[in-house]
C-alpha cells in the first residue's frame, strides 16, 4: 500500500565532535499520522527531532518535506513546529501573547490573530486563562499553552520533544487522552519523542524504536510487539524471554536451536544458516503451564521445570520457571488460573509459531 509521505529522512548521520549521535537514519513519516520515536535517553531521538525541526544540521544526509529538500533551511523557513521538553514558554508574556507570537511574527492581521488564538485555546480548553501570565500557570496548563502556541500556526508537522516529561503520572495520563483527541481533530502529522513505552503505546499510530543512534524498527505497535526485528525492540516493548543459541538444524518451516543443552524449535527466517547464532523471543503470556506434559501435541515446545518465584501483578501472575539447563523462563498466567506454588514441578509449553526468530 503506497502511503502519502509528508516527511522523509534519508541517510542522516550526526556527529557531535567525535561522538556519533545518529547513524544512517532513514525514516518516512506519513501524512496525518502520529509517529512516536521511542528510545532510552541518549538514543538520539531528540537529536533526530531537532534535525527535522532545523535546530541542528545533519553531518550527512537529507531531510525532505513533500519532496522538497529542507536540510539547510533554518527552523523559521520550515513548516514544522516544535513543542520543547522544557516547553520554553516566554516568561515575559501572557498566554495570549505566547500563542499569538508566531502569528504576530508573520504579520497576520490582528483580528485574524485573535480569531485563531481563540479557536486554538478553545481546542486545548484554556480559553479562560488567555490573559494570565504563563509563570502563573500549573504544569498541565503550561503544557496546553505550549501545544497551542505551535498548533496555531497549522504546521504540516508538529514535533513534540518529551513534552510531558515533567508532569506526574496522573496528569500525564489525562493529557495522553487529550493529545490523542487533539491529533484526531486537527488531523496534521505529529512526531512525538518519548522514553516512556506506555506513553508510546497509548499515543502512537506507529512507533520508531531508537537505540544507540540507530533507528532499530518502525512499525505499528502490534508489529513491534509481535514481530520485533531486533533483540532491543523485543526487550524494550513489553516483557519477553530472549533465548540465544546456535542453529542446529534447518527444516522447511522451522529451525532447531540449541540453547544450553535444550533444543528449541522456532520459525525459520531468511538468512539463517546452520551454526549461526540467533535469538528467539517468546512473550511470557504465550507460554502455558501445566502440571502434566501434554504429549503428542504437534508443533509445541514442551519442557519440564521448577517454579522458583512468583510475582503477583493483579490481574495476572508471573512465574519464574527454572529449566533443567539452569535457565529461568518467565510465564504469565491469569490470576484466576494461577494454581501453582514455588517449588512445584511443572511443564511449560508454547507453540513453535509463538516464538519470534531474531537474527540481528
Amino acid at each position: 500500500m503506497a502511503r502519502d509521505v509528508v516527511l522523509k529522512v534519508e541517510n542522516v548521520w550526526k556527529y557531535f565532535g567525535s561522538v556519533i549521535a545518529l547513524k544512517d537514519i532513514n525514516l518516512e513519516v506519513y501524512r496525518g499520522e502520529l509517529l512516536v520515536l521511542l528510545g532510552p535517553s541518549g538514543s538520539g531521538k531528540s537529536t533526530l527531532l531537532r534535525i527535522i525541526a532545523g535546530l541542528e544540521k545533519p553531518t550527512k544526509g537529507h531531510v525532505y518535506m513533500d519532496g522538497e529538500d529542507i536540510t539547510d533551511l533554518p527552523p523559521y523557513r520550515r513548516d514544522t513546529s516544535m513543542v520543547f521538553q522544557s516547553l520554553a514558554l516566554f516568561p515575559n508574556m501572557t498566554v495570549y501573547d505566547n500563542v499569538a507570537y508566531g502569528l504576530k511574527i508573520r504579520k497576520i492581521p490582528k483580528d485574524e490573530i485573535d480569531r485563531r488564538v481563540d479557536e486554538i485555546l478553545e481546542l486545548v480548553k484554556i480559553k479562560e486563562l488567555k490573559d494570565r501570565k504563563v509563570t502563573k500557570l500549573s504544569g498541565g496548563q503550561r503544557q496546553r499553552v505550549a501545544i497551542a502556541r505551535s498548533l496555531v500556526l497549522h504546521p504540516k508537522v508538529l514535533l513534540l520533544d518529551e513534552p510531558l516529561g515533567a508532569l506526574d503520572l496522573k496528569l500525564r495520563k489525562e493529557l495522553h487522552v487529550e493529545l490523542k483527541r487533539l491529533h484526531e481533530e486537527i488531523g496534521n502529522t505529529w512526531i512525538f519523542v518519548t522514553h516512556d513505552q506506555e506513553e508510546a503505546l497509548t499515543l502512537a499510530d506507529r512507533i520508531g524504536i531508537m537505540n544507540n543512534g540507530m533507528l532499530e524498527q518502525v512499525g505499528d505497535k502490534w508489529d513491534l510487539y509481535e514481530k520485533p526485528a531486533t533483540r532491543f525492540v523485543a526487550e524494550f516493548i513489553g516483557e519477553t524471554n530472549l533465548i540465544t543459541g546456535k542453529v542446529k538444524e534447518i527444516y522447511e518451516k522451522y529451525i532447531v536451536i540449541s540453547w544450553k543443552n535444550i533444543n528449541i524449535i522456532a520459525p525459520r527466517v531468511s538468512g539463517v544458516d546452520r551454526g549461526s547464532e540467533v535469538a528467539v523471543s517468546i512473550r511470557p503470556e504465550n507460554i502455558s503451564i501445566g502440571s502434566k506434559p501434554i504429549t503428542q501435541r504437534e508443533g509445541t515446545n514442551i519442557y519440564k521445570g521448577e517454579i522458583v518465584d512468583e510475582i503477583f501483578k493483579g490481574s495476572y501472575v508471573t512465574y519464574y520457571v527454572r529449566l533443567k539447563n539452569g535457565e529461568v523462563i518467565r510465564a504469565t498466567v491469569l490470576s484466576k488460573d494461577a494454581e501453582y506454588d514455588v517449588e512445584d514441578q511443572i511443564y511449560i509449553y508454547w507453540d513453535y509459531d509463538k516464538g519470534v526468530t531474531i537474527t540481528d
Binding site: A53, G54, L55, P74, P75, Y76, T80, S81, M82, F84, Q85, S86, A88, L89, F90, P91, N92, Y101, G102, I105, R106, R149, S150, L153
Partner: protein, 299 residues
C-alpha cells in the same frame, strides 16, 4: 508512657526553637547595634542639623526648614543638582547602550569562553580607581592622547579643550569606572535564559532581530534594575571624578557637599546629603515598584 514521651518531645522542641531564637538574637545584636550607632544615629543627627540655621563651626539649634527651600530656589544649588542628575542619567543610559552588546556577546555568541572573557573585563576594576581617573586626565587633557591623535589624523587643527575638565570627561570616566559592573548583571541575566526559549522563538518564525526585540530585551529587565542600583544611585554621590576631571561644567552634588563640609557649614552640607539620601531611597522604591521586589534577588 508514650503520651509522656510525646509531651517531653514537644517541650524539647520548644526549648530547641527558643535556643535557636536566642542564638539568632545574640548573633544579630552586634550588627544591629553597630548599624544603629554608626549609621542611623548619625543620619538622625544629620537630619536634625539640616533643620538648623546655618552657622559655621557650631550648630545653632535654631530650627528652620529654610535650608531645604534654599536648595530648590537658589540657582547655585539647583543648577548643580540638575547637572548631577543629568550627568548620571546620561552616563547610565550610555553605559546600558555600550555594555548590553558586550554582555550579549559574552553570553550568547561566545558562551564557551564567556566566563573567562568576563574575567578580563573585570580584573581592571579591582585596581585603584583614583589612579585610573588620573590616567584619563592624561588621555583627555589639552596635550593628551586624544587631541594628539586627532591632530595627527588631521581631524582638528589645534587641541580641543572640551574633552578635559568638562561634563564630557566626567561621563567618559564614569563609563570607564562602571562598565564592568553593568556588563556583569546583564551577562548573568542573559546566561540565565534557557537556550530552548530562543530556539522556540526561532522555531515559531522569529528572526534574530525579532528575538532580540520580543524575547531577549524584555527578559533583561532584572539586569536593568541591577544597573540602577549599581550605577545610577551610587554615582549620584560621586565626588572624586568631578573633582579631578570635571572642571566647572562637570560640578556635581558631591563637590557641593564637600565644599560646605570643609567650610564647616554643616547645616547646608547636611541638607544636601539628606536630600541625596531621600532621593536615592525614592529611586529605589520606584524601581522596586516597577520591576517587582523579586527582581532584587534576580541574578
Amino acid at each position: 508512657m508514650s503520651e509522656e514521651k510525646g509531651l517531653s518531645q514537644i517541650t524539647n522542641n520548644t526549648t530547641k526553637n527558643l535556643i535557636k531564637l536566642i542564638r539568632y538574637v545574640l548573633g544579630n545584636i552586634p550588627g544591629f547595634i553597630y548599624i544603629l550607632i554608626m549609621f542611623y544615629v548619625p543620619i538622625a543627627i544629620l537630619f536634625a542639623i539640616s533643620l538648623t540655621k546655618p552657622s559655621k563651626y557650631v550648630v545653632s539649634w535654631e530650627f528652620t526648614i529654610e535650608n531645604y527651600v534654599k536648595v530648590f530656589t537658589e540657582a547655585t544649588y539647583y543648577r548643580i543638582l540638575w547637572n548631577t542628575f543629568l550627568i548620571v542619567a546620561v552616563a547610565t543610559i550610555l553605559l546600558i547602550i555600550v555594555a548590553y552588546p558586550i554582555a550579549y556577546y559574552l553570553a550568547r555568541v561566545a558562551p564557551n569562553i564567556g566566563d573567562r572573557l568576563l574575567l578580563f573585563t573585570i580584573i581592571p576594576v579591582e585596581i585603584n580607581y583614583l589612579i585610573r581617573i588620573y590616567a584619563w586626565r592624561v588621555i583627555l587633557g589639552e596635550n593628551g592622547f586624544l587631541n594628539m591623535l586627532l591632530i595627527s589624523l588631521g581631524i582638528i587643527q589645534k587641541p580641543l579643550t572640551i574633552f578635559f575638565y568638562s561634563w564630557f570627561a566626567v561621563v567618559i570616566v564614569i563609563i570607564h569606572e562602571y562598565l564592568p559592573y553593568v556588563v556583569v548583571p546583564f551577562y548573568l541575566n542573559l546566561r540565565g535564559i534557557p537556550r530552548e526559549i530562543y530556539e522556540a522563538a526561532m522555531d515559531l518564525g522569529a528572526s534574530r532581530l525579532q528575538i532580540l526585540k520580543t524575547i531577549t530585551l524584555p527578559l533583561s529587565k532584572p539586569g536593568l534594575l541591577s544597573v540602577i542600583f549599581i550605577v545610577f544611585i551610587p554615582t549620584l554621590g560621586e565626588f572624586a571624578i568631578p573633582s579631578l576631571v570635571g572642571g566647572q561644567t562637570g560640578l556635581m552634588l558631591g563637590n557641593l557637599i564637600d565644599r560646605y563640609l570643609s567650610q564647616f557649614n554643616l547645616a547646608i552640607g547636611a541638607t544636601l546629603s539628606f536630600f541625596l539620601l531621600l532621593f536615592s531611597i525614592l529611586v529605589s522604591i520606584i524601581m522596586i515598584r516597577i520591576f517587582g521586589y523579586e527582581a532584587l534577588y534576580a541574578r
